[in-house]
């Protein structure tokens, strides 16, 4: 009991001995790693849609975790870890795109309305809401997403695939929430236009 009291006094009055710091830091780090790795599959699925390939997605997620584990002390416990990791992943992806010096594509012109896909599909199908959705193959969706210009694609992927809020997406991308919304809405319209072209192609080839 006396020993415990002494220890408590010592802990309160002075810096803990270095061994104790190292042990508790190692515990914090191990816990951070476990928590962070719990998001790996979620990040991988986002990465596949961001990069358009499985190998590049795996490389991107690996680079993300290497950076995250180096910077783990800058993560504030209790804040959104998935968003923190997604921010690192987005920056790693930008670095990679810069390394390959692929310039971001210009904003495309699009004057199609929100119901463009519905209206196009309704021309050939009386019940678009049921039947046509089933006609959209996974391949068509994936390739349509892949064809979106990168700055639209990343917003659509973060919100519609990654389930991030507008505010999270704004933080991850370092852009205002209003820009998230305008890119998201335009990105979705572009996606519908791309899907309409593919759905028609599939009907023609069927």
């Amino acid at each position: 009991m006396l020993l415990l009291a002494d220890t408590l006094v010592e802990m309160a009055s002075s810096e803990p001995p270095p061994g104790v710091v190292a042990a508790s830091e190692a515990r914090d780090r191990a816990r951070f790693e476990d928590d962070a790795l719990g998001h790996a599959e979620h990040l991988y699925r986002i990465a596949v849609r961001l990069t358009g390939g499985r190998q590049s997605a795996e490389d991107l997620v690996q680079e993300t975790y290497l950076r995250a584990f180096r910077a783990w002390r800058s993560y504030r416990p209790g804040t959104n870890l998935a968003a923190w990791l997604a921010t690192i992943m987005r920056n790693a992806n930008l670095d990679e795109l810069r390394r390959q010096s692929r310039r971001p594509v210009q904003e495309p012109l699009d004057e199609t309305g929100d119901y463009y896909l519905y209206n196009r599909l309704a021309e050939t199908s009386p019940q678009p809401q049921d039947e046509v959705l089933a006609r959209l193959s996974g391949t068509a969706i994936v390739s349509a997403l892949g064809d979106l210009p990168p700055n639209f694609r990343e917003v659509v992927v973060l919100v519609d695939v990654g389930d991030f809020s507008y505010a999270d997406a704004a933080g991850i991308l370092g852009i205002p929430i209003g820009t998230v919304m305008s890119r998201l809405y335009r990105g979705r319209r572009l996606l519908k236009r791309a899907l309409a072209d593919r759905a028609e192609g599939e009907v023609v080839s069927a």
């Binding site: 790996a40 991988y44 699925r45 975790y65 290497l66 896909l117 809401q129």
Partner: protein, 78 residues
């Protein structure tokens, strides 16, 4: 939703599906969707489209042993 209620509903459809409208806006669009077959058909379609996109991307299989490989590579670097 003033002059043309269907136009108004169209412009609120995406934020409505994202659940970011105010309570007042939400109830305005919901009242309209209840009464308007044109807009409610499109609402059902838009909602279905979202879940199709989400499902197809979330069905993406994660390579076998991916997380373990990641853990090993990252602790090697630590």
């Amino acid at each position: 939703m003033s002059a043309d209620p269907c136009r108004g509903a169209e412009s609120m459809m995406q934020p409505y599906l994202d659940r970011v409208l105010t309570e007042a806006e939400t109830s305005r669009i919901e009242v309209h969707l209840r009464d308007c077959a044109y807009c409610s058909d499109r609402y059902v379609f838009e909602r279905g489209l979202r879940s199709v996109v989400r499902e197809c991307c979330c069905d993406e299989p994660v390579p076998a042993g991916f997380v373990e490989r990641l853990r090993r590579r990252c602790s090697d670097q630590a």
